[in-house]
């Protein structure tokens, strides 16, 4: 690990004043410290933000809930407001990592997790456009079983690893960030980005900006009737091969509103808007479920080792829809 300076910020203003080009904010550290051990991240300076009082989970005036960026993943998952109003988010958080890591990891930090693409994570590999822009992508011709089937580019086929972010995308969460020039609010759909020609950028966060909170809009019937379904290589403590955040609002036998977001398939949480639109107004029968599952993977471009993910994603979507919709 490269040597670095350390300062502990006592306020958001102090943190924003201290950040600079070769510096990074340090929250839970579960990903950043790991990446520093592997020389993937080499900051010259860390700004500790664990003392910041961004630890509240509170109802908002508009009927939603605002979650402070420094709330730990385990505390958010276990919070009564989240368990009651947004069980989808609790489920997604509990599906990620381990109890120890969830006790450390912050909500803001979870959004900023880096991909677990082997070729990114191991600095011994020369080619990785995300780690070393312009060096190429070793995963495209390499072992790419865990990689993206949707929205990838010639430059990068990495997936976003977060479970929490998939639920946040389905719930239309908004990320509240602060920079030296003030505050701005970024909808989840625009927070993470597709790799395109600049895979080194995971998000639309600007340099020096700090996530201060994540806001969930008012919980509708949707949030209550939901499931986070994660498929992985072992029963626990593993990243998703494919995951689905599914929520439905029913009106009699017909779908009134639907949310479908997929994890493990793209560089960002993959919101399947066409599949959602196709479901609305229709009866939740086998044909509708099949159409929705198909729409979720429309345009999929599997690689050598991950074609199984296309079928797996369809089946995972179908199972989640059947479970949430209460149809056998």
């Amino acid at each position: 690990m490269r040597a670095f300076d350390y300062t502990e910020a006592r306020s958001v203003d102090e943190a924003l004043a201290a950040i600079g080009p070769d510096a990074k904010f340090l929250a839970g550290g579960t990903n950043l410290v790991d990446l520093m051990k592997g020389d993937v991240e080499q900051p010259m300076k860390l700004i500790g933000i664990n003392s910041l009082k961004l630890t509240d989970i509170a109802p908002t005036a508009s009927g939603g809930v605002r979650i402070g960026a420094m709330v730990r993943n385990s505390d958010c998952a276990a919070h009564p407001l989240i368990r009651e109003r947004y069980p989808l988010l609790s489920q997604a958080l509990l599906a990620g990592a381990s109890p120890q890591l969830r006790n450390m990891a912050s909500m803001g930090g979870n959004l900023l997790q880096r991909t677990r693409c082997y070729y990114f994570y191991d600095a011994a590999f020369d080619r990785c456009n995300k780690r070393k822009p312009g060096s190429g992508c070793a995963a495209r011709e390499g072992f790419n079983r865990i990689h993206a089937i949707l929205g990838a580019s010639e430059q990068c086929v990495a997936t976003h690893p977060s479970d929490m972010a998939v639920a946040m995308a389905a719930l239309d969460a908004v990320v509240e960030v602060r920079g030296r020039d003030g505050e701005r609010r970024i909808p989840m759909a625009e927070f993470h980005r597709l790799p395109g020609d600049t895979p080194q950028r995971d998000t639309t966060l600007e340099p020096g900006e700090l996530i201060v909170a994540i806001e969930l809009p008012a919980a509708s019937g949707l949030a209550q009737r939901s499931q986070y379904l994660k498929v992985r290589d072992r029963a626990s403590y593993a990243f998703a091969l494919v995951s689905v955040a599914c929520a439905l609002e029913m009106d009699g036998g017909a779908v009134k509103d639907a949310r479908l977001a997929l994890g493990g398939v793209a560089h960002k949480p993959w919101r399947a808007l066409d599949a959602e639109r196709g479901l609305v107004g229709s009866k939740l029968d086998a044909a509708a479920i099949d159409r929705a599952a198909q729409a979720c993977v429309a345009g999929a471009q599997p690689l050598q080792d991950n074609a199984f993910k296309v079928e797996l994603a369809k089946r995972t979507v179908a199972r989640a829809l059947r479970t949430v919709g209460g149809v056998a």
């Binding site: 368990r83 609790s90 029963a235």
Partner: protein
């Protein structure tokens, strides 16, 4: 195997495991990892940081290279080798300790972030004799080589605390439910952050069940 008469298993294993986990200090001198501290160039002044925290009830103050993890401070600087280094990358749980009462992976926690924290390691679990979790692991023979055991025991202690606070897990059928049954599936999921390469999981589940049951009673 359970020991219904309350007798502890054979002395050899008992002394071995208590020596490595509960007492720890007794074998510090022969601990291979602690004896082979990686050589690092002397850090620049700005890369050294002073931190004060409480370790097993005792106040500590130490100047450290900012790169030092809590795990390395414990093992190399503070003579507490009971906490084990397995993967050193947050994937195995051997380094599990309690910080402010919550279980964490000490290998991913930079020691400079510990200002004012209270750290509890396997050496500090109990002031008088083995902790009930240590006793349960011995009684149930919940280990083979024993290397992951301190981390397993720290996780077991935290698990019981989390469960009693009503925290749900990934396998809880309804995360909104007020009351959760501590089934074997719940125990397995809640212990899944601790890998045992010998595969002593069957007995570990039994030991955890014993501890949770005893503390409820």
């Amino acid at each position: 195997m359970a020991h219904d008469d309350g007798a502890l298993p054979s002395a050899a294993r008992r002394h071995f495991i208590l020596g490595t986990s509960a007492v720890g200090l007794g074998i510090a001198a022969v601990d291979a990892l602690a004896a082979t501290a990686p050589t690092q160039a002397a850090p620049a002044a700005s890369h050294t940081h002073r931190v004060r925290f409480t370790l097993n009830g005792e106040r500590r103050e130490i100047a450290l290279d900012t790169r030092t993890t809590l795990l390395d401070v414990l093992r190399q600087n503070l003579g507490m080798p009971g906490t084990k280094k397995g993967c050193d990358r947050g994937q195995c749980g051997a380094c599990t300790v309690l910080v402010d009462g919550r279980r964490v992976n000490s290998c991913l926690m930079l020691a400079v972030t510990l200002e004012g924290a209270e750290v509890t390691t396997i050496e500090g679990l109990s002031k008088s004799g083995p902790h009930p979790a240590q006793v349960a692991f011995l009684e149930r023979d919940a280990f083979q080589c024993g290397y992951c055991t301190p981390g397993q025991i720290m996780s077991c202690v935290a698990l019981v605390d989390e469960y009693r606070k009503g925290m749900p897990s990934h396998v809880t059928p309804d995360v909104g439910a007020r009351s959760i049954a501590l089934t074997d599936d719940e125990i397995r999921e809640r212990m899944s952050g601790n890998i045992c390469r010998c595969g002593a999981y069957v007995n570990i589940v039994q030991a955890v069940r014993d501890v949770a049951g005893r503390q409820e009673a």
